[in-house]
């Protein structure tokens, strides 16, 4: 018998892999039938509302839960804080109230708020004020690293550029806020949790509740956005379970919009003072930067270990300062911390290129040799494709030479890398004697199409239509699978399913060979609902499965493994064509191109969607969205969707997603795509604005005010 190897099918033989496949839960989502955590309404469900701290720093000196308990309809009050506790940011949770109706819970919150007294403490919230942080004792010296001789390299350089750049804090702003619906049946707790981590969260409920993890079932059929902020049970999840226990009724507790923004997760800010130098040929010879920012009250900030991004220049020095600010805690935000690193590197390099009077594209091409992970060749190919798509050669002009008129047009580019290696997954694939196929895994579909790509994997393997396989995920009672973060899910789950499916198929082939007295099972393939031997149909899939007898065939799939089904490291390049109205400061995107590699693509349609979505999220943090802290009160002041500005459908221009998948990519196997295309928009857009106006707007997002300030040469 020939050796049996785990491998993806030959590319030309695929009937599903790599095609445009509509996502399988699309109708459920678009028709409103999909049930998210916030939609769970089991009989008698109580609704919870939250009281939060209105100060950036304060000590709780009085609180009376009885006031809320007297309110009509209120059934339970949970205190997150007790008298004497300190709150460290605006929006920290104080109390939760559960009532028969949502408006009664809100009444309860108002009643308890009337009893709360605070001793207000000094605060510090300006993440761009290093001197202020020193005075307020909020300064923290973090990492420093150095390679080569930076001073000597700068001294001998043909061009030196110095500048200040930055990128503001943003909130995850999940449209379905963080939260859960908890319901007890005896000692067993059922949690519907809006989570990216179905398998990993039961223990997070069990421990603080003093029960065994085996008593907890976490379910998440659908999740309304997480972006890296939903891996935990969180204190409000545990509070929800406690109130459900206390009242003997199910409780649904979702964060309100303001609390979602303040406490549900933020992406840390980053600011940088940098000196960068190049030789006469345009090759970077030195990078020297001091970086600061905040990740919340603990200080920290953007991890600058990968600055300058994604390069390794001959001489570099990087140091980092953390500012301890009274702002909500940061959480992982898509591709942490690459978007900030990219924005704080490739804007700087673009200005250096301008100083050298070089075309930005030519400059970046010259420096590809310094990129990490042996991707220079792929980047070069992707740059060619992107340049053609945006017509770089015809449209690019030196920075600031966009001609007369108030509206200036410009081009900008940037590129990125990400790991995306397959994550841990176990799954159980069941083949029933009647030919039906199903699989079980404790993973989740957070909008990336997990159900769909698993179905594609199994259906392609068994030669069945997509309707011939069923995927069950979203329960912690299914075989353990990793959290969906780091763009590791698609590789993880599809690798495991391909292994399990091939293993099952080989067993079925052996039975077919025996039954139909074939010399060997080597020539058998499953295609079109039949088992073929070469070109001859041996039997149908159903007939083959009937050979299993009475019991289904159950195969466990595992991963990740180094068998070639998956790999890691993706890259992509982005180019944008935009206009800047120099009278209003408004930036308008005309065309935004992304050329992206991610190894073998299972579903072109959802892959392109992932890229397009990332470009739009990139436009958001590049042009409009940011956390705005009021230094005087220490409060996060734009905590609603009116003032936390996200782009709308008319604000994004023409978007072009080009998947780069020559055979060399297909042969790499599956690599995750979830995060990488969201990395480069900040630098690409900022560079295009600099190209249009000849002025660098140093800090993202490039709001009209920042653009006008930069054009006036004012403080930004």
């Amino acid at each position: 018998m020939a050796e049996r190897k785990f491998a993806w099918p030959a590319r030309a033989e695929n009937t599903l892999i790599g095609k445009d496949i509509q996502r399988l839960d699309g109708v459920a989502k678009a028709s409103g039938q999909a049930k998210y955590t916030a939609d769970i309404n089991s009989q008698g469900t109580l609704f919870a509302r939250l009281a939060t701290c209105p100060h950036a720093a304060a000590k709780l000196t009085a609180i009376d839960p009885e006031a809320a308990k007297k309110v009509n309809g209120v059934r339970a009050v949970h205190l997150f804080k007790k008298v004497g506790d300190e709150m460290r940011w605006d929006g920290e949770l104080i109390a939760a109230v559960a009532a028969d109706r949502a408006e009664q819970a809100a009444d309860g919150v108002k009643a308890i708020e009337a009893t709360i007294k605070y001793e207000v403490l000094p605060h510090f919230v300006d993440d761009n004020d290093v001197e202020g942080a020193k005075k307020a004792d909020r300064f923290q010296q973090l990492t420093q690293k150095a390679e080569g001789d930076v001073e000597a390299a700068i001294k001998g350089a043909a061009a030196v550029h110095k500048g200040h750049y930055g990128i503001a804090t943003i909130s995850h702003m999940c449209l379905e806020p963080h939260g859960s619906h908890c319901e007890w049946k005896g000692d067993d707790l059922g949690v519907h949790l809006s989570t990216q981590n179905v398998s990993g969260t039961p223990g997070q409920f069990a421990e603080p509740l003093g029960i065994e993890a085996s008593n907890v079932t976490v379910t998440s059929d659908y999740e309304g956005g997480g972006f890296g902020s939903k891996f935990q049970a969180d204190e409000w999840g545990v509070a929800c379970a406690k109130m459900a226990k206390e009242t003997g009724k199910p409780v649904r507790l979702m964060l309100d919009r303001a609390t979602e923004l303040k406490t549900g997760g933020t992406r840390p800010s980053g600011f940088i003072d940098v000196t960068v130098a190049a030789d006469a040929d345009g090759k970077v010879v030195a990078w020297d930067s001091v970086h600061w920012g905040t990740a919340g009250i603990g200080g920290g900030g953007v991890d600058v270990g990968q600055l300058p991004y994604p390069f390794k220049f001959p001489n570099s020095r990087v140091s980092q300062i953390g500012l301890k600010c009274n702002v909500g805690p940061n959480r992982a935000w898509r591709a942490p911390p690459h978007p900030q690193l990219c924005a704080m590197t490739q804007t700087v390099l673009d200005d250096l290129a301008a100083k050298l009077k070089m075309d930005s594209l030519e400059f970046f091409k010259k420096n590809l040799e310094y990129t990490l992970n042996d991707k220079a060749g792929v980047y070069a190919a992707e740059l060619e494709i992107a340049a053609k798509a945006i017509d770089w050669k015809a449209k690019w002009h030196p920075h600031g030479q966009a001609g007369k008129g108030a509206v200036k047009r410009g081009l900008g580019m940037a590129f990125h890398r990400w790991g995306g290696g397959a994550g841990p997954c176990t799954c159980t694939v069941k083949i029933h004697p009647d030919g039906s196929v199903e699989s079980f895994l404790g993973s989740q579909d957070i909008g990336t199409g997990t159900r769909t790509v698993i179905s594609i994997t199994m259906a392609e393997t068994f030669g069945l239509p997509l309707s011939g396989v069923k995927v069950h995920l979203g329960s912690s009672k299914y075989p353990q699978s990793g959290a969906s973060g780091g763009s590791i899910t698609v590789g993880g789950v599809c690798g495991a399913h391909r292994r399990a499916s091939q293993t099952a198929l080989w067993e079925i082939f052996d039975k077919v060979a025996e039954k139909y007295k074939l010399e060997s099972a080597d020539g058998l393939v499953a295609r079109g609902g039949n088992i073929l031997n070469g070109k001859d149909t041996v039997c149908t899939w159903k007939q083959a499965c009937s050979l299993l007898g009475q019991m289904p065939l159950e195969v466990k799939g595992e991963g990740p493994k180094k068998d070639g089904l998956t790999s890691d490291q993706v890259g992509g390049v982005q180019m944008v064509d935009l206009s800047v109205d120099t009278e209003t400061g408004l930036v308008r995107i005309h065309k935004f191109v992304c050329v992206q590699d991610c190894g073998l693509i299972l579903d072109e349609l959802t892959a392109r969607s992932q890229v397009l979505g990332a470009l739009i999220m990139g436009i958001a943090y590049s042009l409009s969205e940011e956390q705005i802290m009021d230094n005087k009160t220490g409060r996060y002041i734009n905590v609603d969707l009116q003032n936390y500005k996200l782009p709308r459908i008319g604000d994004v221009g023409e978007l072009v997603a080009i998947m780069y998948q020559p055979d060399s990519e297909y042969d790499r196997g599956v690599v995750g795509l979830g995060e990488p295309p969201v990395i480069a928009p900040g630098a690409a857009i900022s560079n295009a604005v600099a190209n249009a106006t000849g002025v660098r707007v140093p800090v993202l997002p490039l709001t009209p005010k920042r653009v006008l300030d930069a054009l006036k040469g004012g403080k930004v």
């Binding site: 409103g32 992932q610 979505g613």
Partner: protein, 226 residues
């Protein structure tokens, strides 16, 4: 979901009593301009009660009462206070959870429903203001198998990722296309500007709407075709 029996037990405490409702008219109306006209009747009643009792603050919502609603062609009666929004009634009382509550400030459109043919933000629409009107929610656009063309086009163009904003977008698109059959891309990008997506599905939404709009041009289409 509330017990059916619970909805008749509403009994707000008397005006001015400690621990009573903290409902405050100004808080409720703040930022919800669309609701101002709709709540005029309700708030007038509250004010007269408040004046009678000489209470100067903490105006109490009027008593819960039966509210009869025509939703997707079916009659529903719920017993709620006048301050209760349509989105809460749909989601929490009637388990029609397709419309989502996201912003509560009439900014994002996730709660969009069609009332008497017009798209409306249910998050700032008091349920009592909908009596006698025809309400269509996303559930009224199909039952999961036999669905509206807008739903089909959204799926075809992958206009959904996490999917949380999608039902609101679908309803907004249906209402927009009813009013603007045959709309072009520019009109679509303006007409669907009342909804927000965080995952970034706008490209799919726009293409889905465009395909539906093209299909909704029967007159021109039929004349052109043989």
């Amino acid at each position: 979901m509330r017990d059916a029996s619970d909805s008749t037990k509403e009994n707000p405490p008397p005006v001015g009593q400690r621990g009573g409702s903290g409902f405050n008219r100004r808080d409720f109306l703040k930022g919800s301009g669309a609701a101002v006209a709709a709540t005029a009747v309700v708030t007038a009643v509250e004010e007269s009660i408040a004046q009678d009792k000489k209470a100067t603050k903490n105006l109490v919502a009027a008593k819960a009462g039966p509210v009869k609603l025509d939703i997707n062609g079916k009659a529903h009666t719920v017993t709620v206070e006048p301050r209760v929004t349509l989105i809460d009634v749909l989601r929490n009382d009637l388990n029609l959870t397709g419309a989502k509550e996201v912003c509560t400030t009439t900014n994002c459109g996730s709660c969009t429903v069609i009332i008497d043919g017009k798209p409306v933000y249910a998050c700032a629409t008091p349920a009592v203001s909908c009596v006698g009107k025809k309400i269509t929610t996303v559930e009224g656009l199909g039952d999961g198998t036999n669905v509206d063309d807008v739903v089909k086009c959204f799926v075809k163009h992958d206009a959904t990722q996490c999917g949380y904003c999608t039902p609101g977008f679908v309803v907004a698109t249906r209402a927009f296309l009813n009013a603007n059959p045959g709309a072009g891309m520019d009109a679509i990008r303006k007409g669907l500007g009342g909804n927000i997506c965080r995952c970034g599905t706008y490209d799919g939404v726009a293409n889905a709407a465009l395909e539906c709009a093209a299909a909704a041009k029967p007159a021109a289409g039929k004349k052109g075709a043989k």
